[in-house]
């Protein structure tokens, strides 16, 4: 009987995808709104104008709703690594657990502490001290993302660890390599700035609602202006950073980049590498390993991905073939490792070390070996198993291709929207262009959607690996009964749907209410602005 039930693996993946996608509905707003709120408070501290304090209060209230529910959805994911992915936790727990622990101890505690001071410290802290607290809250929320993405960076491009054949797991050899992994760095910057776009469009969209209705106009116009400028720089940065991340994937995850581009043949297969088209539209068919329809722009793909004019991008079919010898070598590695575990034979250890770099491919072949046992591979079934494993080394192309394209098209849409918004705001002509205001309002969910598709691109494109090149997803799951997994999946779906309903209800409720004028609770001795020359200006009211 097979050791690993594929249904359990699929259900574990579905459950993690569900919880991660739900959680990521909240994360981008948290990442982006904190810094935008900090910018608003900065203006308040510098100018002393009460309207900026009101803006800080109002947007912080909406941020608080999002933050509270977002935290609740994130907690379960850390436990899922232990419950549903115990093999993964055993294999890379020493490495993966470290950034997660640091995230809990440093970023999460920092964020939670300062968020309390941010909300309840207005009457207890001086203005500069409160501003510092707001910046520390923003920094804490982004540091939280940083440590998660360092952990994810290890899964995409394992660095800073080596496999120990005695303990049978990966162990740290360089913390600095883990933290400064190019993949982790690029992912963090791309994700964080994508959150800035989400935060900016949220503030801009809600402000548009007020302007269209003709209420809170002074408040909304200032919020819109700040969000539009915050958003235009962020959206341009996120596109540029995405391009750089693509080049990094080309260097370290060739199967992912080929799937993203729907590239079955090498980029120089039809003419020269330089002339190969970048596909605007295609329908990749994973079964036939070809694209059904293609619309592309010639001469764009190679410079876009390789940042050169002539480097060849290997196609998925080539990458499959290249995996063949590595699978054979990996099978030798796993058999030698098994022998070393049983006999501690130095010769077996030497054989393993010779093939260690291909160990992951041996694990991958286990799925297709009789009874998932590599020792049962015979000359009669060898070629069929290698062929099956070769096909399993590439991700689902249709999903990866379209997840990336939706994210990217949305990214360019945001640049255009923010450009118009910033232009009309700077000319004080927003009311003359209700189309831009309506577009901003109805685009509020789109950056969050783009972030979701970005996550799908990164994770679906990494398949079939949990840890790229080392541990297949198939080998990473726990062995639960199918019923348990189905029950918990439905439970999570219902619970998280309640969270979403609560978030939407509260956001709509407080968003419609708009800014409520607060009484001035400034403590004695802090009535004057920090840098402003005049008294606090309340003329906007």
């Amino acid at each position: 009987m097979p050791l690993i039930d594929p249904s359990v693996v699929d259900l574990s993946r579905a459950q993690f995808a569900l919880t991660a996608l739900y959680h990521f509905l909240f994360v981008p707003l948290t990442l982006g709104m904190t810094f935008l709120i900090a910018a608003m408070e900065t203006v308040y501290v510098i100018t002393g104008k009460e309207i900026y304090k009101e803006m800080t209060h109002f947007w912080a209230k909406l941020f608080g709703i999002n933050f509270a529910i977002g935290v609740a959805t994130g907690l379960t994911m850390e436990f899922e690594f232990g419950t549903n992915w115990s093999m993964y936790s055993h294999f890379v727990g020493d490495v993966f657990g470290t950034p997660l622990a640091i995230e809990g101890l440093m970023a999460f505690f920092m964020e939670s502490t300062f968020i309390g001071l941010m909300f309840f410290g207005w009457n207890r802290l001086s203005r500069p001290a409160h501003l510092a607290v707001t910046y520390l809250t923003a920094l804490g929320s982004n540091l939280s993302a940083l440590w998660i993405l360092i952990a994810n960076g290890f899964m995409q491009n394992p660095q800073g660890a080596a496999f120990d054949p005695v303990t049978m797991r990966m162990q740290f050899n360089s913390f600095l390599n883990l933290v400064f992994s190019p993949d982790a760095q690029a992912k963090f910057v791309h994700t964080s700035i994508a959150g800035f776009v989400a935060g900016a469009l949220f503030v801009m969209g809600v402000s548009s609602f007020y302007i269209l209705r003709g209420v809170h106009k002074e408040f909304a116009a200032r919020s819109f202006r700040m969000a539009a400028l915050f958003g235009i720089v962020s959206s341009m940065a996120v596109v540029t950073l995405g391009d750089a991340l693509g080049r990094l994937d080309y260097l370290v995850q060739p199967t992912k980049i080929a799937a993203i581009e729907g590239l079955w043949q090498d980029s120089n297969a039809n003419s020269s590498a330089a002339a190969s088209p970048w596909l605007l539209f295609a329908l990749p068919n994973d079964a036939t390993q070809s694209n059904v329809a293609e619309i592309g722009i010639p001469y764009v793909l190679t410079p876009l991905i390789t940042h050169s004019e002539s480097r060849v991008i290997p196609g998925l079919l080539t990458l499959e073939q290249q995996a063949g010898p590595r699978i054979d070598s990996g099978i030798t590695a796993i058999n030698a490792l098994q022998q070393f575990g049983e006999t501690h034979d130095p010769a077996a250890l030497a054989t393993f070390q010779q093939h260690e770099q291909d160990m992951g491919y041996g694990f991958l072949a286990q799925e297709f070996a009789p009874n998932q046992d590599l020792t049962q591979i015979t000359p009669a079934n060898h070629d069929a198993i290698i062929a099956q494993t070769e096909k399993a080394t590439i991700p689902n192309v249709f999903v990866t291709f379209w997840a990336f394209r939706i994210m990217m098209y949305l990214g360019f849409y945001f640049v255009v929207l923010f450009a118009f918004a910033a232009y009309y705001s700077l000319r004080n002509e927003l009311e003359k262009h209700p189309l831009v205001l309506k577009a901003a309002l109805f685009s509020i969910p789109l950056p969050i959607l783009a972030c979701e598709f970005g996550w799908i691109t990164a994770e679906a494109g990494r398949q079939p690996w949990s840890v790229y090149g080392w541990l297949p997803t198939f080998q990473a799951a726990s062995s639960h009964p199918v019923g348990y997994m189905a029950f918990s999946l439905v439970g999570f779906a219902l619970l998280y749907s309640c969270f979403i309903a609560a978030e939407l209800y509260l956001m709509f409720k407080f968003g419609r209410l708009g800014p409520q004028h607060h009484e001035d609770h400034e403590p004695a001795g802090h009535a004057a602005p920090m840098f402003a020359t005049g008294a606090a200006d309340k003329s906007w009211q």
């Binding site: 810094f35 935008l36 900090a38 910018a39 608003m40 900065t42 203006v43 510098i46 100018t47 104008k49 900026y52 982004n142 600095l176 933290v179 400064f180 190019p182 760095q185 690029a186 963090f188 910057v189 964080s192 700035i193 800035f196 302007i211 106009k217 002074e218 909304a220 116009a221 200032r222 819109f224 202006r225 700040m226 969000a227 539009a228 400028l229 915050f230 720089v233 962020s234 940065a237 910033a422 705001s425 700077l426 004080n428 002509e429 927003l430 009311e431």
Partner: protein, 63 residues
């Protein structure tokens, strides 16, 4: 004396910022880009608000 300590404090902050820039620039160029970029984004947004206030007297209530 107070001014001296203020200047000394600022000098320490500048030295730390330069050290951070050198280390981050060498080992974590993306992290460095995030630090600089985020600061720039926040400052541009803040500058937009200040500009709004200077435009306001001439805007006749237009937004």
């Amino acid at each position: 004396m107070g001014k001296f300590f203020k200047l000394a404090g600022l000098a320490v902050v500048i030295a730390l910022a330069i050290a951070l820039a050198v280390v981050a620039g060498d080992y974590g160029p993306w992290y460095f880009a995030w630090l600089v970029g985020t600061t720039m984004i926040v400052l541009i947004a803040a500058a937009g608000a200040v500009l709004f206030d200077t435009q306001e007297p001439n805007s006749n209530g237009k937004v």
